[in-house]
């Protein structure tokens, strides 16, 4: 799916998603789970808000010195016996990884969860080269069986219900007893553990992503709860890390600050179960671990985001809090966004990676409620950047003609305040009179986008401006609350 984005079909995707009962049932798990857990764990740590500032500052510092930290990082990986490869594009990254796999004589490759792997559509490339990729994160394994893309950056199968997983396991795991009981989620987990254990032991190459790259030591870091990433990188002879270049942090102390807000923001845990710092291949005296250690650093347009209005997006540590708290994401799920990155962070990042002409709808999928920014552990001003994209889209005449003429129509009045006040007052009175019996409209001309899904309330009382004016005059202190 990642190779063929459907970002420009967002409106159709969203409409379908709203009518999908399985999806709507599964999405209640997002609405109820993540939000409460994050709030509870943040409340337990008095320094949580200050740590968010600290995490933001560290990432800003790293981005401002990115060239120098990347050079130090590379030197330290090399000193530890590892290899660093640089990829400008997704295609270059795929080529490098296939080259390493061929050199290792790889037939099967196990994979830890990596969004960069999704971004570069690595599995399709491995398949095409006759190498079998095996996703090992439970959620990724499930969606690989279904030939789907992840619908969430940390919970890839969050759009599914247990009964759907059960039928996939029965369809694929045909070597197991057909009458086995899979009615409990724990039975599904146990079955996946058994099936994947043999794959871990048989793989020739293990590919993981990286949550962070530490310049000081040349270490790559993965954070997981399952331990699949560790088995992926420990058991095969070759470990390949694929990471985008903004994952760099200066020191172990810096990454420790950020780790304190990562799991809390993501899953509501104080710390994820496994945080693994890997530095180079197996040492002379080691008895296990990979003999070859490669890091592929991917740019794919990120270096050009520096120094622009979108630089702050490179602070993102991929916790998923923005989508967990997004009413649009809750309503339509991750697949509607049509590519690898959903939710608010996807609405900002996807247009930079695919182009605003292909993904211009995504920044429009926001109510600007601001919850994403209020929970972002590195304080990325996501709504502001979505507004930037809307401006770009408008300036480049990419938005639909009806929207453009609507905005122009509104602008005509907005630039003439007296006319605006007169016209809105008139509309209020006319609509108030027309809707005086029911108090609502079930259809309105030019507003079917609203009234198809819910009634439009009939206006009551004066306009906002007239009421604001009245309040200013009747209270001291210019109408501001004391």
């Amino acid at each position: 799916m990642s190779a063929h984005p459907t970002t420009n079909r967002f409106i159709d995707n969203a409409t379908e998603a709203l009518a999908d009962p399985q999806l709507q049932r599964a999405m209640t798990n997002v609405r109820s789970g993540f939000i409460d857990k994050r709030a509870a764990v943040a409340a337990k740590l008095p320094e949580f808000e200050a740590l968010r500032d600290s995490a933001r500052d560290i990432k800003n510092h790293a981005l401002a010195h990115l060239d120098l930290y990347l050079e130090r990082y590379e030197a330290n990986v090399t000193a530890a016996g590892g290899h660093v490869h640089w990829a400008r594009t997704a295609e270059e990254a795929r080529k490098i990884i296939l080259g390493i796999c061929h050199e290792a004589g790889a037939k099967t490759v196990t994979k830890g969860k990596s969004m960069i792997s999704e971004e570069i559509a690595l599995n399709a490339a491995l398949d095409a080269a006759g190498i079998v990729p095996v996703e090992t994160d439970l959620g990724e394994y499930i969606i690989q069986l279904r030939d789907e893309a992840p619908s969430h950056i940390i919970a890839p199968a969050v759009h599914l219900n247990a009964t759907q997983v059960e039928s996939d396991f029965r369809r694929v795991h045909t070597h197991l007893d057909a009458d086995r009981d899979l009615s409990e989620p724990v039975q599904l987990l146990t079955e996946a553990r058994q099936v994947l254990r043999s794959k871990f032991l048989a793989a020739d190459v293990g590919i993981t992503g990286a949550n962070f790259l530490v310049a000081e030591t040349g270490s790559s870091i993965i954070v997981t709860n399952e331990g699949n990433g560790d088995l992926t990188q420990t058991l095969p002879k070759t470990h390949i890390v694929i990471a985008s270049l903004e994952k760099i942090v200066p020191t172990l102390e810096d990454v420790s600050q950020i780790l304190r807000v990562l799991a809390r923001s993501a899953t509501g845990q104080e710390m994820s179960v496994y945080t693994t710092f890997s530095t180079g291949p197996r040492r002379a005296t080691d008895l296990d671990g990979p003999e070859n250690y490669h890091v592929v650093i991917l740019d794919n347009g990120r270096s050009s985001m520096l120094g622009t209005a979108f630089q702050d997006m490179l602070r993102c540590i991929r916790c998923g809090a923005c989508m967990n708290h997004c009413p649009v994401y809750h309503a339509v799920g991750g697949h509607a966004y049509g590519w690898v990155y959903p939710g608010p962070m996807g609405a900002v990042l996807t247009p930079t990676l695919l182009g605003v002409d292909k993904a211009g709808h995504l920044p429009n999928a926001s109510t600007f409620c601001g919850r994403c920014e209020s929970v972002c552990p590195v304080r990325i001003p996501l709504p502001k950047m979505m507004r930037h994209w809307r401006e770009h889209e408008f300036e480049r005449h990419l938005s639909p003609a009806t929207m453009r003429s609507g905005i122009k129509f509104w602008a005509f009045f907005a630039k003439r305040p007296a006319l605006y006040r007169f016209a809105t007052n008139l509309m209020m009175n006319v609509m108030g009179w027309m809707g005086r019996d029911t108090g609502r409209f079930t259809s309105l001309p030019l507003a079917s986008g609203w009234t198809d899904y819910r009634d439009f309330p009939a206006p009551q009382g004066g306009t906002f401006q007239s009421r604001y004016q009245a309040q200013r005059q009747s209270t001291p202190n210019n109408g501001r609350a004391a």
Partner: protein, 223 residues
Amino acid sequence: MSAREEILSTIRRSLGVTGQEKPRLDTVTERLANAPRGLTVARGQLPHEGQVALFKEQAEATLSSVVDVASYQDVPAAVADYLRQNNLPAQLRIGSDPRMADLDWGKTAIELSHGPSDGNDLAGLNHAFAGVAETGTLVMTASADNPTTINFLPDHALVVVSAKDITGDYETMWSNLRAQYGKGQMPRVVNWVTGPSRSGDIEQVILLGAHGPRRVHIMVVKD
């Protein structure tokens, strides 16, 4: 131009720098040399006894089990207790860490296997480099003494941590690690382990025992 040069030069052009500016170079060199600790989290800033107690409390909160062991000589008996209580065979995979391999295991009925795990062990024992009180996190370092596979493949991960190696926060642990391995030097792998393996990938319900150990049992050896 190679991909490396082109990426670095795009970064420099975007940032409006050449990469040769002395103040930038000095800033980076100083940051890497000094590794400032950043914001201190008050939770772990306790007398050492309090840190040990907090470590145990936090580890239990992440569903590890924790017992106190008076001295290293008592470790074999504590392991035997755990295996018996969990109806496990008296078999144990360990590395060559002298703090554990040299103990008198003959007093127990436990049959030891040495070296890395091949995935067929029910129980394995490693020695932690440290424990971090703040979140009840074990810090494991890879070596022949404590092979990484023992942390991940057996169903039951048994871990010895010396009480004196328990720190209040991650930063103090990193200082201790640098003191032992050298500045900028890392063991091949440092594993932070905070509880048994788990997954919430099916309907967001947390289930233990995804791919790694189903149980983590920590033995805190007093000084």
